[in-house]
Symmetry: C2
Subunit: 408 residues, 2 copies
């Protein structure tokens, strides 16, 4: 019964597989996503420096927003009144928000965790706030992303086994509370026909952008994903995965990685955890990684990833290219008339020289950050396109091989 | 003889007049410019935060670069090797550079003026440099703008009459030295067929962008404009204008205004100086102004203007609209779903709400500066379009009125 209702809001279709890797299509109320997908991070309802039409041109199908940051600025109520993040940003494609758990975890000194939730201080003005599974859900419903995440505790690294187990158990209890709250309030999403009906009783405005939104089907609403924790312990990861899957979410994330552990360990935990996640649901690995890593994880069967690396590195002049990483500030590029990446077709590589990008960066010009970000995002999205293509080719090759095998 | 040669590089055609205002077409080696024109400032070979394709879409036909800043970063030799500013920036439309005189003038404590030229200290690292009329010309030839400016002294305000006269006389001597140096080195421009031939003797590279440049006609090169000074003294302005015109430049600028004098005085000096500038040559008023001012000066017969106001104000959240100036940081816009300017068709007003622009600005997001700049430039360019249109309509109305008059 519940699953039928969920099916209105999200659908996942696997179209090709090659080993554990798979190519799929994730249908959300705001459009389709080809998976495996890389989701650029738009922390404060903006991918820093990049206008939405350029994101569209790059082929971005889903963006990530950070609940913690958006809760502080501009505030959930403002976003809700603007029709959610889609209305505020004027972005008609899909959006995912994190639960705020990881961001609050990053505050270190400024937080206090209890069974109820987390008390934390704003990094902006030191004011005190509280996130519980319920209030984190309420915030994410107000923000109105297509996919929202259960409120979890990101276990620190390293940690004792007992500490990891206790943290994992609390995340499971919080997952149940998140689910329960979400089930009771999912009709409050600030877009779609449910809201158009519900909104009339309040003085809520439906902004023009949301009104124009023809993509949202009747009855469609948000989807809540569960998050697997369990630190670097394969056994606890297995248990966390099985018990989270038992609750029944339309998608599952692997959280609590990229917290300082060696990369080989990350990979080991990812690979072993994936075994316990259902094959017919999207799998989201949170907060990774380099271009090589995202390709590797995609081939292991991860469907969704996000990372600040391409955008943050760009703002520091670190550019990913088919010929390796380039630090554009270096003097060797000062008179280099070649494009940043001769194998890249992005609007930056098509038009500008390394010399120009180097000059902009060395002169601290705003345009450096804009152009560098566009290129790095393009490189990440191209990487994922190549991975999808290779999985599809692999399946076709296997299909052809099987067909040419002599019949018994 | 000299004038014939100049005609290859620049042509000015007046197409309509209405009172002193005129609509014209300025043809440069890098395309045509409809006048009166507003030239966005791209100090360091970039209009801060705006990619070149967006400038093209806005209809920018000519950009301004600052010789002083480009001389320091990335340096004239680097720009020259990249094919001049056009090659470095990958910008095929027209460019104008200032002479560096005004920028050096702004350094105040850091400069020393003599008959020879100006010794100044870099605002970046305090290193000592020297600009003479000859070296300022050499720099501007290396930068390769379509229109370059004679090296002048911008007289401070207020100043004694004798001081203004002495300064004006030196500017006249510097104009003659500028012209002489330019005539002897104009074939050294880093683009065009003259350079393609000349370049073979050196190890100079012609960058791919310059090579692709089909717009540059054979023999076309830069054009040097003279600058009228004379402080706030109408008589000295008249003398400066007449003696500068006597030297014979293909265009004339009015410099030394917007240096702290009251606006009414600016207007008075502009209007009285314009009388002494030849009607068949472009007239460039340097460093003004607000949207109202640029419209006003255009209707007085000014053909070209530049100002940092639209771009700098944008970065401070001050936006020009058909309904007046808006400070987007104000809380009243936090939930304002209307576009910034309902009468503006720019890509910012077509897509985003005031609430989003306010959020971006309040959150110190890079995109705020990008979008705000795009809108303000659009507003300035639209203002000039409207002025051109009104001059054309005025001429047509007069024409119709004359035709309908009964024949004698």
């Amino acid at each position: 019964m519940r699953l039928e209702f969920l099916a209105v809001s999200i659908q996942f279709q696997i179209e090709a597989t090659n080993g554990p890797g798979r190519v799929g299509r994730l249908t959300t109320p705001h459009g389709e996503i080809e998976t495996p997908v890389f989701m650029p991070v738009g922390t404060l309802a903006s991918v820093k420096g990049v206008p939405q039409d350029v994101l569209e041109e790059l082929g971005v199908q889903i963006l990530l927003g950070n609940t913690y940051h958006l809760y502080l600025r501009p505030g959930v109520e403002t976003v809700r009144r603007m029709g959610g993040l889609h209305g505020l940003m004027s972005w008609d494609r899909a959006i995912l928000t994190d639960s705020g758990g990881f961001q609050v975890f990053s505050l270190n000194e400024l937080r206090k965790v209890s069974e109820d939730g987390v008390t934390f201080r704003s990094h902006l003005d030191g004011s005190s706030h509280f996130f519980s599974p319920e209030s984190a859900m309420a915030a994410q419903i107000g923000l109105g992303a297509d996919i929202i995440m259960a409120f979890d505790e990101c276990t620190e690294y390293p940690a004792e086994r007992e500490r990891v187990r206790a943290s994992m158990e609390m995340t499971l209890r919080w997952a149940e509370r998140s689910r329960k709250y979400f089930e009771g309030h999912r009709n409050e999403v600030p877009w779609g026909s449910s809201q158009l009906a519900a909104g009339s009783s309040q003085e809520m405005q439906i902004p023009r952008f949301a009104r124009d939104d023809k993509a949202v089907e009747e009855g469609a609403t948000q989807s809540l994903f569960g998050i697997v924790q369990g630190g670097m312990d394969r056994e606890l990861r297995r248990e966390s995965a099985l018990r989270t899957v038992e609750m029944g979410f339309p998608g599952y994330a692997i959280g609590g990685l990229s917290v300082g552990e060696p990369r080989a360990l990350t990979r080991e935990i990812v690979e072993s955890t994936l075994e316990y996640l259902p094959a017919d649901k999207p799998r989201y690995l949170m907060g990774v990684g380099t271009p090589e890593e995202i390709a590797e994880y995609a081939l292991l069967g991860v469907d969704m990833m996000d990372c600040v690396l391409p955008t943050r590195a760009a703002r520091h002049g670190l550019l990913f290219t088919s010929q390796g990483k380039i630090s554009i500030k270096q003097a060797q590029y000062a008179q280099d008339e070649s494009p940043l990446d001769p194998n890249c077709g992005c609007r930056v590589c098509r038009r500008y020289s390394r010399a120009y990008l180097r000059h902009l960066y060395a002169s601290n010009e705003l345009l450096a950050q804009v152009l560098n970000t566009v290129h790095n995002l393009s490189y990440y999205l191209d990487t994922m396109r190549a991975v999808r293509h290779s999985i599809q080719l692999g399946e076709r090759a296997r299909f052809l091989a099987e067909r040419s095998r002599p019949k018994p």
